[in-house]
Point group: C2
Chain length 79, copies 2
DNA sequence: ATATAAAGTGTACTATATAGCACTTTTTAA
DNA sequence: TTAAAAAGTGCTATATAGTACACTTTATAT
C-alpha cells in the first residue's frame, strides 16, 4: 500500500464509522493537528501514531508480501 | 500486527533474504543506526522509514481489518 | 579457542513529528 | 442561501526520530 492509499483507507474507514477527525483524535490519543496533517497528505506519522489511529478504527498495521495476488491492482475492493 | 510482530517480520524476512542490517540499510536508504534501533525493539520508525525497509524486502505496509479470521492468532504461518 | 562478521549500544547533533492555538476554507443541513 | 460543523493551514514550541561515529557484545565460522 502506497502512502496515498493508506491515507485513503484511514479516511474512508473513519467516514464509514461516522467519526470526525476531532473524535478520532480524542479516542486515539493522537493530537488533532497530527491527524489533520496525516489525512491531508502532509504527514509522515510514526508507527505508534498509525497504530493508535488504526486501533480505534478496527484496523491494524501489517506487513504483507508484495504481489501476493495480481488481483486488486486497481485499488478496488479496498477495505 | 502488534509492534513486536512487525519487528519479527522484518527480521525474519531479512534473514530469509540473507541480507545483513548493513546491506539493508544501504539498499533502503535508511540509516544503519535507525534500522538497528528498530530491530532491537527500541525504535518508533516513521511510516516512510518502514516503507523504505519494506520495499527492499519485498514487503508492503498495509492496513487490514482486525480479526478478519480467527486463524493465525498464535502467530504461526507468518510471512 | 579464536578470528571475523554481524548485531547492539552510548553519546550527541540535526531534522522533523507531535501538538496546541487561532484562523480560513470547505462541506453539510436547514 | 446561510448557519453550523467539519476539515485544512500558518505559526510555533517541544519532544523525539534519524543519523554518524566509535565502541561493545554476540554469532558464525575455521
Amino acid at each position: 500500500m502506497h502512502h496515498e492509499k493508506l491515507i485513503k483507507t484511514i479516511k474512508e474507514r473513519r467516514d464509514v464509522m461516522q467519526v470526525t477527525q476531532e473524535t478520532l483524535a480524542e479516542l486515539s490519543g493522537v493530537g488533532l493537528r497530527t491527524l489533520k496533517q496525516f489525512e491531508s497528505g502532509k504527514g509522515n506519522p510514526t508507527l505508534i501514531t498509525l497504530q493508535k489511529l488504526s486501533d480505534v478504527l478496527g484496523l491494524e498495521v501489517c506487513l504483507q508480501l508484495k504481489n501476493i495476488t495480481k488481483a486488486n491492482e486497481t485499488g478496488e475492493n479496498t477495505i
